[in-house]
């Protein structure tokens, strides 16, 4: 199996350049703390399609470089806005300021929704690294990301 192509979880996450820039920009603005936000998109038959209609930067209520909690009112506002557009919140992003763009044990333990996409942005190196994952029953599966 060493030659097998990597398999990715579905859906492929499709971000516009401006959405990508808003997510990564918000992560830099949040330094030295972790930053977080929510993404919205259509849900068809109980599953996200991977299309992202909107991104919603949120306050990290923890104001911490090690943990994040999406501010509840920011989530409420984002959820209402998404639903008014016929969409739903389909995932969350947060930054890792000094570590890999990979879910931490805390991220896995606290993963909210098996349908969601979990975006990690690492600011460890000079260039930001954005990756996306599904987390289901404690199992991490990477999703492909297209920025178009």
């Amino acid at each position: 199996m060493t030659d097998a192509a990597p398999t990715f979880a579905t859906p492929t996450l499709r971000l516009s350049v401006s959405q990508y820039e808003r997510i990564v920009g918000h992560c830099y603005v949040g330094l030295p703390d972790e930053a977080c936000g929510l993404i919205a998109g259509p849900v068809v038959a109980g599953a996200a399609t991977g299309f992202v209609s909107d991104v919603y930067p949120a306050v990290n209520a923890d104001a911490s470089a090690r943990t994040y909690t999406v501010d509840g009112r920011d989530y409420l506002r984002a959820s209402r806005d998404a639903e008014a557009r016929g969409h739903d919140i389909i995932g969350v992003w947060h930054s890792h300021t000094h570590t890999d763009p990979y879910p931490s044990p805390t991220d896995v333990r606290t993963a909210v929704d098996p349908m969601w996409v979990y975006i990690l942005v690492s600011l460890r190196d000079d260039a930001p690294m954005l990756r996306a994952y599904r987390i289901r029953d404690g199992v991490i599966a990477e999703c492909q990301v297209q920025v178009l």
Binding site: G72, E83, D88, I90, D113, M115
Partner: protein
Amino acid sequence: MMAVEVRLPTLLRVHADGAASVAADGATVGEVFSALTAVYPGLSEQLIDAEGALHKFVNVYVNDDDIRYLGQLATPVTERDVVSILPAVAGG
């Protein structure tokens, strides 16, 4: 009794026949939740902990206000209010 609209996040809709919004009778959030979980028993352990309090991983709003800063499950509601349930979103 007054029917109050309750908005459900995607996570909980599987327990409510896929509905994004349901209506339940009650004069307080707790009464509304009791009516709701009578119809959708799967929601019960998602909302209420073993001690009968609001589950710590769930945030509940009456309109714009978090019920933890109001009267918890005893927060009064009327048919003009919208109750929104959202999971706490956190990590490290």
